[in-house]
Symmetry: C2
Subunit: 191 residues, 2 copies
């Protein structure tokens, strides 16, 4: 998606360790106009797929998922990274390794919010090694729900997550795929 | 706001300890159609106030803030509850007691995203004792920004947060204000 790629080139910065900072428009601060264009694009890409629920993971996927959901006329469920006293009842649970936070999370969804009738589109901001997406897929499979597809804002194409999902036959639509980046020169190259 | 009150009566449940569960439509699972109606209502209530940025706190405020931001044509910044390695640079920091999680969080916003030019509307899902809102206000004041007002989905009117904000002259607009609730009978009464 040209609009997103241009924005990454304009406002993204490359940090040591293959970290791409896009926190001025994609997370931390969110450009809602851009999010609407991304939502429309995902709707176009998943036009032929039945979607009645959108699943994301807190926190930075929530804004994208909420805006995108308007084009699918579907509710959003966000998986939670910790147990809260508000979350009683039965839960689907999985474990996710976080690259950014360098730790392992318990990720949970209340069983009431995923069922075999659901056709679930996963939306998230980043795809790198695929740990978070695999965790969300695990929750969907535990529920007996159908995975409709995966919509990603920025895929790090030089890591394995995207390739593995595509090899499994999963419909994955990443709006920008990074081929490589260099923190010394600040260059970012797209596929 | 009648639509929200009716939804709380229909789908909300009262738990021991003055906990109101609204996770089937307001957090965890989010009814985006309802969020749009709430966003329009906040826009109507804050029509005469200058707003160029919306501030919320992760995680359950983000969806509401993102949808509401469409009516204000403003970006959303969400305050983060923990430090991440992606969040280098200078930060405004405050500490917030969480009733739900029974712990104290560091809450941070990158200094780049709040400035003296900003007229900031705070949006959040709940107001009870006001700890989270006071933390967000502290971040706004540290930045020298202007607090435009506070938009809340559900205020627990029997706790002190709302009264204290109104006594300070802050424009607070809560879309539903709960007068009292009873976990034995399941009744919820609005102001």
């Amino acid at each position: 998606m040209r609009l997103l790629e241009e924005r990454i080139l304009k406002d993204g910065t490359v940090k040591h360790g293959n970290v791409l900072k896009v926190d001025s428009f994609l997370n931390h601060q969110m450009d809602i106009g851009l999010f609407n264009e991304m939502g429309k694009e995902w709707k176009r890409l998943f036009e032929d797929v039945e979607v009645n629920k959108i699943l994301t993971i807190e926190a930075s996927g929530i804004g994208l998922a909420a805006i995108a959901a308007q084009y699918f006329e579907a509710p959003v469920v966000f998986a939670k990274k910790t147990m809260t006293i508000n979350l009683d009842g039965e839960l689907y649970t999985t474990r996710v390794q976080s690259f950014t936070h360098q730790r392992v999370y318990n990720v949970v969804v209340a069983k009431r919010f995923l069922s075999p009738e659901d056709h679930v589109l996963i939306i998230d901001d980043f795809l790198a090694n695929g740990c978070a997406i695999n965790g969300l897929m695990d929750l969907i499979y535990q529920a007996g729900a159908t995975l409709a597809g995966v919509g990603i804002a920025i895929e790090k194409g030089f890591q394995d997550g995207g390739r593995e999902l595509r090899e499994k036959g999963i419909k994955l639509e990443s709006l920008a795929i990074i081929k490589g980046m260099d923190d010394e020169t600040g260059t970012i190259e797209f596929m």
